[in-house]
C-alpha cells in the first residue's frame, strides 16, 4: 500500500487492557481457592454493591462471557448445541445466553477448568432475557444459588425523576439486605462509596474517550473500542478499571492532538449499531482497505458510557462526581447517585422505550461524529440491542445518510453468512459510497 494519509500507531495501553481482562476471568475461577466469594450477574448489574462486601469478592458478568465464547466459533457451536440439545432451548434465544447455559451444562469454564459455580446471583433486568437468564442458569445448575434481581426499566433518560430513582434505590436497599443475609458479610459503606466514585469515573471517562473520536482522523476504530469498553462491562466499580479509563483518556487526547489515526487512510466515516458478529471482526478490518473507519455506535458509546444532552441538544459526556463538585456523604447518597447516573446517563437503555429515542440519539451521533454512512448489523442474537434497527435505517436514510444493513448474529456463527455479507459491503462501499479499495 502507498504511504498513508495520517500517522498511525498501536495503543500504548492495549496490553494493559488485555491483562486486566484476563486477570478478571482468572480471579473469578480462583476465588474460592483464596476464600473469596464469587457472584454472577449482568454487565449492567450495579456491581458497586456486591463489591462492597467485606473481604474479597469476584464477579462474572454474563454478556461479556458469552461474547468471549462468541469470538471462538468452535467453542460457541459446541456450547450452544449443548444448550439446545441437552436443555432443549430454542435456537433463536440470545446467543450469549445459550453459550452461557451450554458452559454450565458441559461443566466447562471457557477460560479453563470446570464451571466455577457462583455463591450468589446479583442480576439486573431490562430486556426480556436478563432476569430469566440466570433463573434458568440456576435451574440447570441445581437451583441452589441464592438469587437477587432488580429492575431498571423505570423509564427513558429524559423522564427520570425522584419516583423513578426511588424505585431503583429501594431495590438496591433490598439488594444490600439480600447480600448481607446470603453471605453473612457486611456491606462496607466506605467501599460502597469508593465503588460509586469508580463507577462514575469508568462511565464518564469512557464517554470522554468516545467523544474524542469526533476528531478527524478518528483516533480509535470501533474494533479496538470493543476491547476497551469491555472492562467496564466486567467491573466498572473497580479502582483498576476506572484508573484504566482515565489513563486511556489521556492517551487518546494525545492521539487527537498529534493527529494519530486509527485508520491511516481515513476517508469515510461510518457508524454501526448493535454488537458485531464477534467471530468475524475481520469484516471491520476489511472495510479499512477502502479507507473506512467505523467510529462507533450507540452501543459502543453507551453500553457502559454515560451521556447527557447539553443546552444545544448535543450529546456530551456525563460529568464525573468530581466535575459536579459532589462529595458522597453516606450510603443513601451513594445509592441515589448510582441510580441517577445509570438511569439518566445510559442512553443505551433509551431504545427500550421507543424507536423515536434511538432515532434521535443516533442522528446526533451521525452529525456530531461526522459520519458519511451507517452500516447496521441486524443482530439476530440480541433483541435488546437490535431494538428498532429497521426504524433506525428509515430515520437515518431520511436524514440523508446512506445506510446498509447486513443480517447476522453476534455470537452464533451459524447465522452469519460471511461471503454474502462481504459482498454486500463491497457493493455498498463501491456503488453507494463510490469508494475504491486502496490496496487495488
Amino acid at each position: 500500500m502507498a504511504e498513508t494519509k495520517y500517522h498511525t500507531k498501536a495503543l500504548e495501553c492495549w496490553d494493559k487492557a488485555k491483562e486486566l481482562r484476563l486477570k478478571y476471568y482468572q480471579d473469578y475461577a480462583e476465588a474460592h481457592d483464596r476464600g473469596a466469594l464469587r457472584w454472577e450477574g449482568g454487565a449492567w448489574s450495579f456491581d458497586a454493591l456486591p463489591q462492597a462486601l467485606e473481604g474479597e469478592v469476584y464477579p462474572l458478568t454474563e454478556e461479556p462471557y458469552g461474547a468471549s465464547i462468541g469470538a471462538n466459533p468452535e467453542a460457541q457451536v459446541r456450547y450452544q448445541e449443548a444448550a439446545e440439545g441437552k436443555w432443549g432451548c430454542a435456537r433463536d434465544l440470545c446467543a450469549y445466553l445459550r453459550s452461557y447455559w451450554g458452559s454450565i451444562i458441559l461443566d466447562e469454564y471457557f477460560f479453563g477448568g470446570k464451571w466455577p459455580k457462583a455463591d450468589f446471583i446479583f442480576q439486573n433486568h431490562i430486556c426480556c432475557s436478563h432476569g430469566k437468564w440466570l433463573q434458568v442458569a440456576n435451574e440447570i445448575g441445581g437451583g441452589d444459588v441464592p438469587y437477587f434481581c432488580f429492575d431498571v426499566g423505570a423509564g427513558p433518560y429524559d423522564k427520570i425523576g425522584e419516583r423513578q430513582i426511588n424505585y431503583v434505590v429501594g431495590q438496591l436497599y433490598d439488594g444490600i439486605e439480600f447480600l448481607e443475609k446470603t453471605t453473612n458479610r457486611k456491606v462496607v459503606d466506605e467501599k460502597l462509596i469508593q465503588n460509586v466514585y469508580n463507577t462514575y469515573r469508568s462511565a464518564c471517562y469512557w464517554s470522554k474517550v468516545c467523544e474524542l473520536n469526533q476528531a478527524v482522523p478518528a483516533p480509535l476504530d470501533e474494533k479496538s473500542m470493543y476491547s476497551l469498553y469491555v472492562l467496564g462491562t466486567l467491573q466498572k466499580s473497580s479502582e483498576e478499571m476506572a484508573d484504566f479509563y482515565v489513563e486511556l483518556y489521556e492517551e487518546i487526547k494525545d492521539r487527537v492532538a498529534n493527529q494519530i489515526a486509527a485508520v491511516g487512510n481515513e476517508r469515510c466515516r461510518v457508524l454501526g449499531d448493535s454488537q458485531p458478529p464477534w467471530g468475524f471482526l475481520r469484516v471491520l478490518r476489511y472495510m479499512e482497505e477502502y479507507g473506512v473507519v467505523s467510529i462507533g455506535s450507540l452501543y459502543t458509546f453507551s453500553l457502559i458510557g454515560w451521556w447527557q444532552m447539553d443546552d444545544t441538544g448535543n450529546m456530551v459526556p456525563y460529568p464525573t462526581l468530581e466535575e459536579q463538585g459532589i462529595t458522597i456523604k453516606d450510603r443513601d447518597h451513594a445509592l441515589r447517585l448510582l441510580a441517577e447516573g445509570e438511569l439518566r446517563g445510559k442512553l443505551m437503555w433509551a431504545p427500550f422505550y421507543g424507536a423515536k429515542f434511538k432515532n434521535e440519539i443516533v442522528k446526533k451521533i451521525a452529525r456530531q461524529w461526522k459520519c458519511d454512512a451507517a452500516m447496521i448489523h441486524l443482530n439476530r442474537g440480541c433483541e435488546g440491542t437490535a431494538m428498532h434497527q429497521m426504524e433506525l435505517k428509515i430515520a437515518l436514510s431520511e436524514a440523508g445518510l446512506p445506510v446498509m444493513t447486513y443480517e447476522g448474529n453476534m455470537a452464533d456463527e451459524r447465522e452469519f453468512d460471511e461471503a454474502r455479507d462481504m459482498r454486500l459491503i463491497d457493493l455498498f462501499l463501491t456503488e453507494t459510497m463510490d469508494l475504491k479499495k486502496l490496496t487495488d
Binding site: W87, G88, C89, A90, D92, L93, C94, I121, H125, I126, C127, C128, S129, G131, K132, W133, L134, Q135, V136, N138, E139, G143, P146, Y147, F148, C149, F150, D151, G153, A154, G155, R163, Q164, N166, Y167, G170, Q171, D174, F178, P351, F352, Y353, G354, A355, K356, L378, R380, E383, G384, A386, M387, H388, Q389, M390, E391, I394, E407
Partner: protein, 381 residues
C-alpha cells in the same frame, strides 16, 4: 343469536363493532398492546379499550419496519396498523411488556397516525416490594394524562365503576369456566376463547350482559360431541381460531388454558380499597404473570408454574399443548422448564411453534399423533 355467536361476531367484525360503538356513545377508543394495560382507568374515563390483534394474513407491510427475528404476533399487529385496519382508534398505548410488543408499538407511534399515544412504564420486577408503589405512581400519571386528553376529571366514583366493570367481567368469565370442568363440557375451548377475545374487543358492560345470559344457558346446554382427550393449551398469545377448531374436531377438547388471550387475562380481580389507584397497582403486580415478568426479586422460582399445575388438576387435564409464537423469548425461556415440570407431574406435553399463518394440515397430523399417544397410555394403565 346465542351469546357465543355474538362473541364470534364481535371478534370477526371488531372494526365495525368499534365504529358503531363510537357512533352510539360518542366515546373514544384506545388500542392497547398488552394485557398489563389498566383497563379500569380507561373504563373510568368512558373510553373503550380494544386489544390490538393480528389479522393472520402474510404481513407484507411490516418488513421495512421490523425485521423477521421479531415475533409474528408483534409483526402481525403492526401490519394491521400499517394497513389502516385500526384507523378508528383515537389513541394507542402499551404497558411495558416484552421487547417484541414494544418493537411494534415503537414503529406504530411513528408510522400509524393515531392522535393520542401513551407508554405506561409497567415495572418488570412485579414481585419486588418496590413495584407496587412505583406502579401506583405510573397509574396516577396515566390517569392525569387521560384526564388531560379527554378534558374530564376521573372521580373516585368513576374509578369504582371502572373497577367494578372489570371485576364483574372477570367473575362472570370465571363462572363460565366452571362449566369447562364438566365431564362433557357445555362450552368447548374454541368457544371459551371466543368469549375472552370478545371481552378484549367489546365494551365490557355489553359483554357482561352476554356473559350473564351465557351463565344462565350453560346448565341446559348439551353439546352432541365426544369430548375425547381433555387438553390444556399453554403459551404465548393465541388468537388462532382455525387451530383451536381443528384440535377440537379430531378428538380433543381444550378444557383450560394459560395465556394472555385466555385465563391469564382475567383470572385475578382488583381487591377494592379506599386508595383505588393503589388497589389497581396491586392487581397488576399480583396477577398471574406473563413469563417476561415471571422471576422473583429474591427468588428465581416462577409463580406461573404451580398455578398452571393447579389448573391442570382442577380441570382434569390429560395432556398439554405448549405453544409459542416463533421468536417469543419470554416463552422460549420458560418452555424447557415448563415441559419438565408438567411431565414430572404426570402431564404429557407437546410443543408447537406458531407463525402468523399456521399450517393447520401439518399441525393436525402432529396433534393427532399426540392424542394417540395419550390414548395409548390409557390402554396400558
Amino acid at each position: 343469536m346465542e351469546p357465543v355467536e355474538k362473541f364470534t361476531d364481535a371478534w370477526r367484525h371488531r372494526r365495525d363493532y368499534a365504529i358503531d360503538w363510537k357512533e352510539r356513545t360518542g366515546g373514544k377508543v384506545v388500542g392497547y398492546f398488552c394485557t398489563y394495560v389498566p383497563e379500569e382507568i380507561l373504563y373510568a374515563a368512558d373510553i373503550l379499550p380494544v386489544r390490538i390483534l393480528g389479522g393472520h394474513q402474510p404481513p407484507n407491510l411490516v418488513a421495512p419496519h421490523v425485521f423477521d427475528m421479531w415475533c409474528p404476533f408483534c409483526r402481525d399487529c403492526l401490519n394491521e396498523g400499517l394497513a389502516g385496519k385500526y384507523d378508528y382508534l383515537d389513541g394507542i398505548m402499551i404497558a411495558q411488556s416484552c421487547l417484541h410488543m414494544r418493537q411494534a408499538f415503537g414503529a406504530w407511534e411513528i408510522h400509524v397516525p393515531t392522535p393520542w399515544k401513551y407508554y405506561l412504564c409497567m415495572p418488570n420486577a412485579v414481585r419486588s416490594p418496590r413495584a407496587k408503589p412505583f406502579l401506583a405512581g405510573e397509574l396516577a400519571e396515566f390517569k392525569e394524562a387521560v384526564e388531560e386528553w379527554t378534558g374530564k376529571p376521573i372521580t373516585d366514583e368513576a374509578l369504582d365503576k371502572g373497577i367494578e366493570t372489570m371485576n364483574t367481567n372477570r367473575r362472570l368469565m370465571k363462572q363460565v369456566y366452571e362449566f369447562r370442568k364438566e365431564d362433557n363440557p357445555s362450552i368447548i375451548g374454541t368457544e371459551a376463547m371466543m368469549m375472552v377475545w370478545a371481552s378484549q374487543l367489546m365494551d365490557k358492560r355489553e359483554h357482561n350482559e352476554l356473559l350473564k345470559q351465557l351463565v344462565e344457558e350453560l346448565p341446559n346446554r348439551k353439546l352432541e360431541r365426544d369430548p375425547g382427550i381433555r387438553l390444556m393449551i399453554v403459551g404465548s398469545e393465541n388468537d388462532d381460531r382455525p387451530f383451536m377448531e381443528m384440535v377440537e374436531s379430531i378428538g380433543g377438547t381444550f378444557v383450560i388454558e394459560d395465556h394472555c388471550t385466555g385465563s391469564r387475562y382475567f383470572w385475578d380481580e382488583v381487591v377494592p380499597d379506599k386508595d383505588r389507584i393503589s388497589a389497581i397497582a396491586h392487581r397488576y403486580c399480583d396477577r398471574i404473570p406473563c413469563p417476561s415478568k415471571d422471576w422473583g426479586a429474591t427468588d428465581w422460582q416462577r409463580k406461573r408454574f404451580p398455578h398452571i399445575l393447579n389448573l391442570a388438576r382442577e380441570y382434569q387435564v390429560e395432556g398439554a399443548i405448549l405453544t409459542q409464537q416463533k421468536f417469543c423469548d419470554p416463552h422460549e425461556l420458560d418452555i424447557p422448564s415448563l415441559r419438565r415440570f408438567l411431565e414430572g407431574n404426570g402431564i404429557p406435553c407437546y410443543f408447537l411453534e406458531f407463525e402468523v399463518t399456521v399450517p393447520v394440515g401439518q399441525f393436525r397430523i402432529r396433534v393427532e399423533a399426540f392424542l394417540e399417544q395419550i390414548r395409548a397410555e390409557e390402554l396400558f394403565v
